[in-house]
Symmetry: C2
Subunit: 272 residues, 2 copies
Amino acid sequence: MSFNTRLRLIQEKRNSLLCVGLDPDLRKIPKDLLVHDDPVGEFCRQIIAATSDLVCAYKLNLAFFEVLGERSWSTLHGVLASIPQGVITIGDAKRGDIGNTAEMYAQSLLGEFKFDASTVNAYMGADSVQPFAKDPEKGVFVLALTSNPGAKDFQYMRTKGKPLFEHVVAKAKKWNDNDNVGLVVGATRPVQLKRIRQLVPSMPLLIPGIGAQGGDVKSAIRHGCDAGGKMAVINVSRSVLYASSGQDFADAARSSVASLCNEMNRYRDRYF
Amino acid sequence: MSFNTRLRLIQEKRNSLLCVGLDPDLRKIPKDLLVHDDPVGEFCRQIIAATSDLVCAYKLNLAFFEVLGERSWSTLHGVLASIPQGVITIGDAKRGDIGNTAEMYAQSLLGEFKFDASTVNAYMGADSVQPFAKDPEKGVFVLALTSNPGAKDFQYMRTKGKPLFEHVVAKAKKWNDNDNVGLVVGATRPVQLKRIRQLVPSMPLLIPGIGAQGGDVKSAIRHGCDAGGKMAVINVSRSVLYASSGQDFADAARSSVASLCNEMNRYRDRYF
């Protein structure tokens, strides 16, 4: 089954477009956990246990694991093992390199860690993306228009009548032969999100930037979904992970996820 | 001392612009080494011991270490520890992410592993690059025009009268306040290399693509150096690492490095 179909099915099954972003910062997790052998792993596992019936995906930000050093390998494996079968796991690593090197990154993310999907930076073009997309069961989200301030430096530059990010969208559409390619589009860019959804009516859009970065749930749903109110994967990280800094952090994360999910579903009902 | 000054000094001291790219592929290293506890580490250490008096830098391709799994941490640390003080170490990871995530990648590469420099992908703009450049002693090489076939997909797109890669060059020049920013320009693009050197007369250019990828030493020297015949960091990987597949691999690597270095210095004498 292709990645895009798997994503559609889990979104239906859970009735959820919400993806929790696991960017676990040792400086922000509850102090009580610091006595644990693997505080970051334990934090993530408790967040997952409290939320996994309400989400369609988890996006693991590799930087926040790599910074743990040698133990990051076992932490990552432990966190991934605690995610129930069927829920999509996205390795958010934004890799991008020449073909033989991209093969190695893909082997590590999709082979060793068995992520269901990864994020890639396509500045280096087709051969830097292809190794992540060759298995139809594995998804790849290509950075199109990102949520951060620096997005304005290059992504909006107009060439041949359209901004650079639309050229990336057009290429990604071509690379979608295996029905497993999607795009990253920041929730902080609602106008462009709408435009991109017109260009790719059915491809998955991974939409970060809700909450701490200022993106808006209503626009993300209204403009990010396909015609059936699906295929937007709306990522929320900090406002779920750090909903409480106390011992009740997992319960608080669940409440935050439930509330976001309800909000999203209200907008889905309204617009689709 | 700023990174760019350190680079200039080691190039003078060694009379060498050569950087050996460590992309150690377990499938290609001599079979005899496979009995070793840490075959990839041992391979790299022997290559380094045989070549470190002839090079200005080593570029470690992170993908080829990450693919080793958990042991990659100790392998990387062991390889880095065997590189003599003063020789520049480049963590070729091509990271690029929003500010708080880029901070984490920078902490891992420059803090944990203590690389002297790293490579970054600037598609996400200033805040994705800044964390790698804030310490003047640490260098950052921004991908401008890459050596691979996919470079043609986006990097040449013309906007406001010039190709995208020249816009990246212009931004990188602005980001060079700390005298520690350079650019990656493929040796397979001699015409554009010449153009980029005109745009940034003194910034370091990391030039991959010699050998297996088809780039030419003469053009890399002629067009990549500054006016004093320095500040080009010419990377060679496969033709040095796999100069021999037998037990004499380290001697063969040294011969290959010595011969490349002589060739480069002949062209430096001719053109500078």
